[in-house]
């Protein structure tokens, strides 16, 4: 799929690979890219280019790595490529001082530091670059990464237009997209939810609202005109059904009103709606209001921005300085605590459904942030199908993409509103990682899959994570008219999640209805404890209900994602990869024995899965595999900074030889 634009190839320089539709915008030569771990500020000379898709550095001395590991390289984004959407912050260094760069610059920096959203850090020295080129490349990069953008200018569209005929869907990919009525019916059948719930096409063509998908599922007794009444608000939308018949539902809140008359109307409307899912003693519903008494998006945003700073390291010295306080810094970011709260909430809901046989209704203003997160987590824990790769992808498609999670805003792809940028989806992946880490055999996929998935949030050649709603995607992708006015982002109802006050109206209305059903909070805690303890007291059935541990020491840092670019974190020949070959060998043996047994049963042979032979051959991979290549440099033991003095040039060294020789960087 990767095409080389022949025009760009000059004789000596390294080829710039361009994707279909990708255009070179500006470039600068004799840029020095620092090798990060090298404190003597060594680097590689090369060309820094900026296209409408990425920033790329092309080293002059790109000695082709015929390392085995190169076959694990990312096909779209190379080692020195940064997609424009992946850029988090840009800093300039002026006379040793580091400043954030934005807008129009009066002075151009001698050094450019780019922090990426996947936590890579790049440092480019511009001292040897022609002044004109510096101006062009710096302002180009700043403009294309920081300035607010229009949706139609997303690279996605140029790529889609150019690569129109190249897209071949993998026939093996059975991910359910949930964009047809059939998909929903299939899911209802799979979970045996079709007794009480029905798929509706009332929103076909987005007639009712643009927030909801064209097809979704509601309780069977719910009249379809109810959906239209408040543009899909106040309607319980089905997520999933448990084997015991209890269901997980979500609802976006009704608009807030001051007027008593309207309030009355809303109340009686909700009363009616509730009867469809709450029919004691046959069916009881418990409401979880995720807009209050739970996490706020503001908290998630603050926590993550603190947390990521722990990994965005400009130089080793800085890293060692913070390293000593690692645990308290980690704790003060509260990111791990937020993960714990999400997992706990999901376990509580699981308990209601599994142990108490209750329907659970998740409530949130637009039902498109924490609703997506919690409902997906509950399904990961309760439904083993979601722990297969296809099942997991289908789940993301169902709860996040069709669930109307505003990827465009939450990832801030258009740079229009920094306040809306909240890593809710990443938080979800981190929660899933905790599950995968604690119970690896329960999952078909590994942490590497999750890491790669988290990276694809910033690669605008997949449309999945680049829209706020299926409607927005359909209108933009299908018609692909670049003149289409961007009404969507304005017409969508306000997503004011950053308000402090809770939604009293909904709380009261619902609170009255269900107050008698809710136990006192102490009792709730007891139920939770009992459920949690008794599950963990039994041997784990990886094909059944799966609960995570949430005690203090059990929530961990997703080291692969957050530490993979830090050379100091590399353990040569160590880490989990080290046992991989042994594992593969045993898997092969299991498989061959399985086949022998199958032969005896005259059943069909299982297709032989070929294990990547590289893993078996290469003796010592890095613990950061497949993200970091083995580098000679990084194998240097890093010495403590306390005695650290960067030695200058050779003369300097010779002068000092009598008193002091520093092992660190001589």
């Amino acid at each position: 799929e990767i095409h080389t634009n022949e025009k760009e190839v000059t004789e000596k320089e390294v080829t710039l690979h361009l994707l279909p539709g990708e255009q070179l915008l500006c470039e600068a030569s004799t840029v020095l890219k620092y090798v990060q771990e090298d404190s003597c500020q060594h680097g590689v000379y090369g060309r820094l280019v900026c296209t409408d898709f990425k920033i790329a550095f092309l080293g002059d001395d790109e000695s082709a790595l015929d390392n085995d590991e190169t076959q694990f390289k990312n096909k779209v984004v190379g080692e020195n490529d940064i997609t424009l959407h992946c850029v988090d912050q840009i800093y300039g260094v002026f006379d040793e001082k580091k400043k954030t760069l934005f807008g129009q610059l009066k002075k151009y920096p001698e050094k450019l530091i780019i922090h990426c959203k996947d936590l890579r850090v790049f440092q480019f020295c511009l001292r040897y670059t022609k002044e004109e080129e510096v101006k062009r490349i710096v302002s180009g990069i700043i403009h294309h990464t920081q300035a607010p953008k229009l949706l139609k200018r997303l690279f996605l569209f140029s790529y889609a237009t150019a690569a129109q005929n190249n897209t071949v869907t993998d026939p093996k990919n059975h991910t359910i997209m949930f964009d047809t009525l059939k998909d929903w019916c299939w899911e209802l059948e799979r979970t045996k939810g079709n007794m009480k719930y029905k798929a509706v096409s009332v929103n076909e063509g987005y007639k009712v609202c643009e927030r909801l998908p064209a097809y979704f599922v509601v309780p069977t007794p719910l009249p379809e005109e109810n959906v239209q009444r408040f543009q899909g608000h106040g309607i319980p939308i089905w997520c999933w059904s448990c084997h015991n018949g209890s269901a997980l539902l979500k609802m976006s809140a009704l608009p807030k009103e001051q007027d008593d008359g309207i309030l009355q109307i809303q109340k009686s409307f909700l009363d009616g709606v509730y009867k469809t899912i709450h029919r004691p003693p046959y069916e009881i519903v418990k409401t979880e209001d995720l807009s209050s008494n739970f996490l706020s998006l503001q908290e998630i945003q603050t926590a993550y921005s603190k947390f990521k700073q722990l990994f965005l390291i400009d130089n080793s010295t800085e890293f060692w300085d913070t390293d000593i306080k690692w645990f308290s810094l980690l704790e003060s970011s509260s990111w791990l605590d937020i993960i714990r709260r999400c997992l706990k909430k999901a376990i509580e809901i699981t308990e209601c459904m599994e142990a108490q046989n209750m329907n659970v209704l998740l409530l949130e203003e637009n039902a498109s942030d924490l609703c997506c997160l919690i409902s997906s987590l509950v399904q990961m824990m309760m439904d083993p199908h979601c722990r297969t790769r296809i099942g997991f992808q289908s789940l993301i498609q169902k709860e996040w993409v069709m669930g109307g999670h505003c990827f465009l805003d939450r990832c801030n792809h258009l740079r229009q509103n920094d306040k809306e940028e909240v890593p809710v989806f990443l938080l979800f992946l981190d929660c899933v990682w905790q599950l995968v880490h604690q119970h690896p055999p329960a999952f078909e996929f590994t942490e590497t899959y999750l890491t790669v998935l988290s990276d694809s949030l910033y690669i605008p050649i997949f449309s999945t994570f680049f829209f706020n709603s299926p409607h927005q995607k359909d209108t933009n992708m299908h018609q692909r008219q670049l003149s289409l006015p961007l009404t969507q982002s304005k017409s969508s109802p306000k997503r004011g999640f950053f308000r402090e006050e809770t939604d009293h109206l909904i709380k009261n209305l619902l609170g009255k209805r269900i107050s008698k059903l809710i136990n006192s909070s102490d009792e709730l805690q007891d139920n939770f404890r009992e459920f949690y303890d008794s599950w963990h007291g039994k041997p784990t059935d990886y094909h059944g209900l799966l609960l995570p541990h949430i005690e203090g020491p059990e929530i961990k840092v997703w080291a692969q994602r957050y530490l993979r670019w830090i050379p100091e974190a590399q353990i040569l020949g160590g880490g989990r990869v080290a046992t991989m070959s042994k594992l593969l060998e045993m898997m092969e043996e299991v498989q061959s024995l399985q086949e022998k047994i199958d032969e005896r049963h005259h059943s069909q042979q299982a297709p032989q899965a070929e294990a990547p032979c590289l893993l078996r051959n290469s003796a010592r991979l890095s613990s950061l595999f497949p993200f970091a290549l083995l580098q000679r440099h990084s194998s240097k033991p890093v010495l403590p900074t306390s005695g650290w003095k960067a030695l200058g040039d050779e003369d300097d060294l010779a002068k000092r030889e009598d008193e002091f020789v520093d092992l660190g960087d001589v």
Binding site: W326, S581, K582, D649, G664, D665
Partner: protein, 638 residues
Amino acid sequence: MPPRVTFQPCGWQQNQDTPLSSEYDFALVNIGRLEAVSSLSRVQLLRPGSLLKFIPEEIMIHGRDFRLLRVGFEAGGLEPQAFQVTMAIVQARAQSNPAQQYSGITLSKTGQGSGSRKPPVPLMETAEDWETERKKQAARGWRVSTVNERFDVATSLPRYFWVPNRILDNEVRRAFGHFHQGRGPRLSWHHPGGSDLLRCGGFYTASDPNKEDIRAVESMLQAGHSDVVLVDTMDELPNLADVQLAHLRLRALCLPDSSVAEDKWLSALEGTRWLDYIRACLRKASDISVLVTSRVRSVILQERGDRDLNGLLSSLVQLLSAPEARTLFGFQSLVQREWVAAGHPFLTRLGGTGASEEAPVFLLFLDCVWQLLQQFPADFEFSEFFLLALHDSVRVPDTLTFLRNTPWERGKQSRQLNSYTQVYTPGYSQAPAGNSFNLQLSVWDWDLRYSNAQILQFQNPGYDPEHCPDSWLPRPQPSFMIPGPPSSVWLFSRGALTPLNQLCPWRDSPSLLAVSSRWLPRPAISSESLADQEWGLPSHWGACPLPPGLLLPGYLGPQIRFWRRCYLRGRPEVQMGLSSPTISGLQDELSHLQELLQKWTPRISPEVHSKDPHTILNPTEIVGILKGQFHPFWITRC
């Protein structure tokens, strides 16, 4: 039988294959805290000598080794016994005094049928042991010195140790006199590439050695190398009080009723500083490994007492540089040599004498090893369970290994014990006279306390020695290493090498090792190539940037982990999934499938059978044992 509390589950039989059951056994010294719980959830903390205020429904014994024993007394006529048992424990604790605790040992089972029983691991108490080990390491320039055979050089030193060939015993004796407590320089380990790792105590500054003595000291330190690096072991590492305080804090944090909120756990953990100390040890060991590997030189670990951190660092360096030390046998030999024989004062450090200077340096070492195990899961033959068993053994007064401060005391005791055994143990076949050492039991006699199924768990299923292509070859590889500069002496401190003008500190001593200050270890091409050279990266090592067999551990904050299965084993969540689930799960499946296949085919094809030696074990059985039995937590009510 030393005083202990033991719990016998229903159906438990004395026979078993473990004469001393380990599972529910709590030596009185190991009891850190005793609590009685009544039905009204009243809890009384019972100190030695306190009076029980109610009839307990449950007693909880918190071990100093982080174990927890909960015994419930079921209602229905058991009340008087419950009271009696509890009071008996309280009184026994009050009466017991540390010195008594170590006097008795049962040897009944072991002697049977093995008159000349060989210890599972060489105890390094005979000259033969030392000679065998010397040959194994191919340390040609070294010999076994018998100068301390009567412990008259130092009681804390072993009877035998290695000194350079050229040095005569009387020179050794004189040279050692100038070191703290007579602990002069001895070889710890000879690197196959030619370097030597030495350890010694601090220079005895008050002494006034003559020229000859200085010459002897210097040539012992130099060990025939022109490049000498003196490592100040205590620099940047915690002192004994630090280690002890950190360990106390850690234990307080890990008590089941520790009041630390979940979201404050990390900072509480950081506050103990235990992990900080671990990482300091790993960092230093990693640096020293590079020093030993990168050039042919003599690296001397110097600690004032030479009995604590020297042992820790020297063991860690060997674990990092020698694949041999990472086998089960190699590791046990290593501990026996560098800790037990080298005179680590176990009794004092583990609080056995009640004196000050208690500091669990050895437990700190075990945690460091565990970290390595986590980071390099395929490089160690032993498993986490082995380390746990070793961790739990240090306070079990069954064998002498950890119960004495010096080899001299241990030797004295074991001679006494041998005579006890011969008198008191019926059915014991008389050992040949003069072979008394063969009778000594050590902690390495695992079958005394662990069942076979448990011992099988000491093997790491993920061990893959093929993983390092060049496995351990004890041969000199001169091409491999660059010789050091002529006559250079360095001090390694704070992560940097500083040239030293003289090796010994005695004033006005005419140092024979004049450091040529103009010499710089650098081919003067570029500063980068020097770094590569110093750090052991000659280009001919090829694509693999590290010499085979060398492990460089990570020691960043995020890489140092908390040993849950050791410190939190009182918690139920830690009990589950004790083994690395994937590999052992696969082994399960493998043996299950093989069984199935075997049932169907009476004559199984040989290649299936011989493919994986590990599958000969029956993992299903082991997994069953692991869930809750290995370490007592769930106690059936009786």
